[in-house]
């Protein structure tokens, strides 16, 4: 496996990263420490619009952040994407020039005692040779199948296929006395990962109907296998969503397909992370107030916060979930909410050191999660609904209030009215104003949890897989109709 990484120069190998630090430190002047944070990525992409492939790409880059702290200086850093000796030397000099400008005035990392070391989770399914080896021809073949399905239906399709691989590593020369394992506590061991995704929007020629389907996985074969089904789903949604009628906004029972659930739950899952618990006083649904005696922010840990059928967590051993890579991250599974009770909150190591001795091991990283499902199929949910709406996905979800997690956004690519257990008509899209916490407290039924589509936020960024069920909930608040299709 290791031979593949870096063998053709698409991404850097562990040895290449280590060599970079050696070379940079060898160029250092003025003593002190050298740190590097190096990422590399490769993207193979294919886009199409109006049933015509518009672009097939192969792109790659490296990002190197090089930091130097000369003796008695602060850290100065520069970033670059050139790795030759002269560029490295220029970068080292520039970082040292910055470092010398001020004496050390801030408390350094060394203030903190050593941390227990966790080996990164060994068996996370985050790398797929099939993804790294997927050719432009393989993407074109998948595109051909998806486009031809749309053409057969007489529809226009636009879509995107992507395979990517990336590596990251952060390490330095300082504080060998603080190293409790292979890496110092702030360091990032070499990790490489792959991700693949496919998505497709189908519209009719008149622009009065639109359907979408998409899927992400670390493994391109999953996308290849699913592509016909994705195309079929997008086409069927487009056909079924044509010529929608306007519906009065108001409170409706909703059946949210898994993609809509994931779109809505992002603000909730983000709220578990350290940004909120650490920035004391900022709005968080999990704060209760400051305890003067314990010098702690009291939280709702241990309290029942949502319906008892709700369990949200992350298990890196789940091949659909992936990624844990930081030595400070507890490598085993983490449960945020278990049977409706708030079980864990993430936090950074600084907060842990000051407030939670011995309890620093929670996730601080990117969003990746699974939500436990139930056994009710979407068909069954529809059959048991007297009047309600079936939602395909949400778009542009925006947090309005950090304390209640009240959010707003739009439905997109398929919204249907259910009357007396049957889908009766396609409905024009609606703007909603609702909180995911409210939804999880008004649950009627849960479907099977399945992996959903997760977009690539930026090249080289971590994947953020999610596995969520379809949800049926009461009294979901839709606040205004929109004409967009």
């Amino acid at each position: 496996m290791r031979e593949i990484a870096g063998s053709d120069g698409r991404i850097l190998s562990r040895e290449e990263c280590q060599e970079l630090l050696r070379r940079a430190h060898a160029l250092a002047e003025g003593g002190g420490e050298t740190q590097i944070h190096v990422t590399s990525w490769w993207h193979g992409e294919l886009r199409w619009g109006c049933n015509r492939v518009t672009l097939v790409t192969d792109r790659r880059n490296v990002g190197l952040v090089l930091a130097r702290a000369v003796r008695n200086g602060v850290y100065g850093s520069v970033s670059l994407n050139q790795l030759d000796d002269r560029s490295l030397e220029a970068a080292v000099r520039a970082a040292e020039w910055q470092s010398r400008r001020r004496v050390l005035a801030l408390r350094g990392w060394g203030y903190f005692p050593p941390f227990p070391h966790y080996d990164p989770f060994a068996n996370a399914a985050i790398w797929s040779d099939a993804t790294f080896g997927a050719t432009a021809e393989a993407r074109a073949e998948v595109a051909r199948r998806m486009i031809s399905r749309a053409k057969t239906a007489g529809m226009l399709s636009a879509g995107y296929l992507e395979v990517r691989a990336a590596t990251t590593m952060a390490f330095g020369t300082e504080f060998p006395e603080l190293r409790t394992g292979e890496h110092a506590f702030w360091e990032q061991p070499y990790v490489r990962w792959t991700q693949a995704q496919g998505s497709m929007t189908v519209r009719n020629a008149a622009g009065t109907g639109s359907g979408w389907a998409g899927l992400s996985s670390y493994d391109w074969l999953q996308i290849e296998r699913a592509c016909d089904e994705l195309a079929e789903r997008a086409v069927q949604k487009c056909i079924a969503s044509q010529d929608p009628v306007a519906l009065e906004p108001g409170r409706y029972t909703v059946i949210l397909e898994p993609q809509a659930v994931a779109d809505l739950m992002d603000v909730l899952v983000r709220s578990f992370f350290r940004e909120l618990i650490e920035s004391q006083g900022t709005a968080s649904p999990w704060h209760l107030g400051f305890d003067e005696a314990l010098r702690l922010w009291r939280t709702k840990l241990g309290m029942k916060v949502v319906d008892e059928r709700v369990t949200i967590g992350h298990d890196p051993a789940d091949p659909r979930l992936g990624i844990v890579m930081h030595p400070l991250e507890w490598p085993g599974p983490v449960t945020w909410i278990e049977r409706g009770v708030l079980k864990s909150l993430g936090h950074g190591f600084r907060y842990a050191m000051e407030h939670l001795p011995g309890r620093h091991a929670l996730r601080t990283g990117e969003i990746s999660y699974s939500m436990a499902g139930g056994d009710v199929s979407i068909d069954e949910m529809i059959r048991t609904t007297r009047r309600g709406l079936l939602v395909s996905r949400f778009w542009n979800v925006q947090l309005l209030d950090g304390e209640s997690l009240l959010s707003t956004g739009y439905t997109r690519d398929g919204l249907w009215l259910i009357e007396n257990g049957q889908i009766t008509k396609a409905v024009k899209n609606l703007r909603f104003t609702e909180s995911p916490l409210f939804v999880l407290n008004n649950l009627e039924a849960l479907g099977e949890a399945v992996p959903v589509f997760r977009p690539t936020r930026r090249e080289g960024g971590y994947p953020t897989p999610a596995v969520v069920p379809a949800i049926k909930a009461r009294d979901f608040s839709f606040t205004s109709p929109i004409d967009a299709i």
Partner: protein, 529 residues
Amino acid sequence: MRISRRDLLKAGMGAAALAALPRPLRAGLGELGPALPPLVQSAEVKELALRAVEAARSAGAAYADVRLTRTRSRGRRGMADSERLTVGVRALVDGYWGFASSRVWSPDEMARLGRSAVENARAATLVGPAPAVGLAPAPVARDEHWTMPIEINPFAISPFEIEDYFFSLSAFVQRFRDFDVGFGDVDFTVQDRAFASSEGSYVTQRVYRSGAPLVVRYKDRLARTLDVVDRAGMGFEVYKGQPIREHVRRVMEELEEDAKLPVKPVEVGRYEVVFDARSIATLVAATLGQATQLDRALGYEANASGTSYFNDPLAMLGQFDFGTPLLTLTANRTERGGLATVAWDDEGVPSDEFVLIREGVLEDFQTTRESATWLAEYYARKGRPVRSHGCAAAPSALEAPMTHTPNLVLSPGPEALDFDAAVAGMKRGLAVRELAVRTDFQDLSATGAGMIVYEVKDGKRVALVAGAGFLLRTVDLWKNLVALGGPESCRRFARVSTKGEPAQATYHSVTAPVAVFKDVTIIDPKRKA
């Protein structure tokens, strides 16, 4: 593997270079002193560019172009120096576009990228035969160079000077009780670009980008963004070229006045509303700027950010009428200080100025060489030549160019009308500063909120309205345009154009006057159904 001190010492000065990576040109990080001649003007870079084009041509491309960019940026504290070299080759084969890009500027890499772009395009032929791609003619420019005119090169002065400037401005504001100032995400960026095409063009240019919005805060309660400073296609003169402290003082005095007003909860309903220039620039970019990108209108962005309410461009050109003769929107990549200003776009097309909407009627779209040909029928009808408006752009050579919004200018009204005069002339309504909006995926409607919303009665601001939200329908909004401010009320602001998969973002400037609208729907955004 563990790296010990000993390992590092052993590695010593003679550490071997990474064997797999070819030697690129020298990075220029940390260079100070007089401005360097643009790197891209060197003969070496031209040779690299021509080699990439040649490689793509000999691999079978009907058309190919290459871009090389060097991007340097520096933060306000001189602590965020960065430099990136990138190169991207685009090739057209049998009606399909292929693209390959990387960070390595070497002859071998140019040849590889040229071949790779062709291979990628050829892979697309598996999907089936494609209709021929037409490219609107563009003049061939040979060995021309352009440098964006600026007054103070932020890379030629000491970072201390930049740091001192912000430190002293901050100290100036903090001398006044209860006031603070925020400088936003200030960055100074210079990008050198080289472009070569198989049609024989070779051009190089250097463009700058400086600044960020400057926010004055009062008692953690009220905040105002200066409307004379924003990110722009300028150097350090974006700050130093004007009496910033006077502007800041004026805003501080206005904030003190505002703070004396009583605060009222929002009452939903329909109001006549005065928007400041920043709000109008936001509305122009969100409701007109995206919608007039031709690729978006035709559905090429349907799987990403969405489509446009101009869903039938050929039928709507010359026909679609917003119903107000006040609305005239022009686009350009030529104005001095504009963020999208260039001499040639990312396809080598000379920069252009053109009318998108004239007196309320849709007249044109933002186009590239390929997409301009999709409007050939309309241009023929109008007796106009088929040519690209030069809207191809990308953040760097790492990304393939696509249609990005150029600088936009909303024509001001004929009379001298500014924010205060518009408020003074209003009997009953609202006045809004710094509207922020989010549009739906067809730009048909938007929801928004203002930073400061005043209740106006008989020409006077009588209260601040807390928590007011705006529910806007694009077509109704512009139809209800009552008055536009005069030329002296126009200000220029920075906006970001985000599109594509994965999303790529470029900057452009939007210039707009203040404006008055009737029948604007005000909502309470946090109220559920």
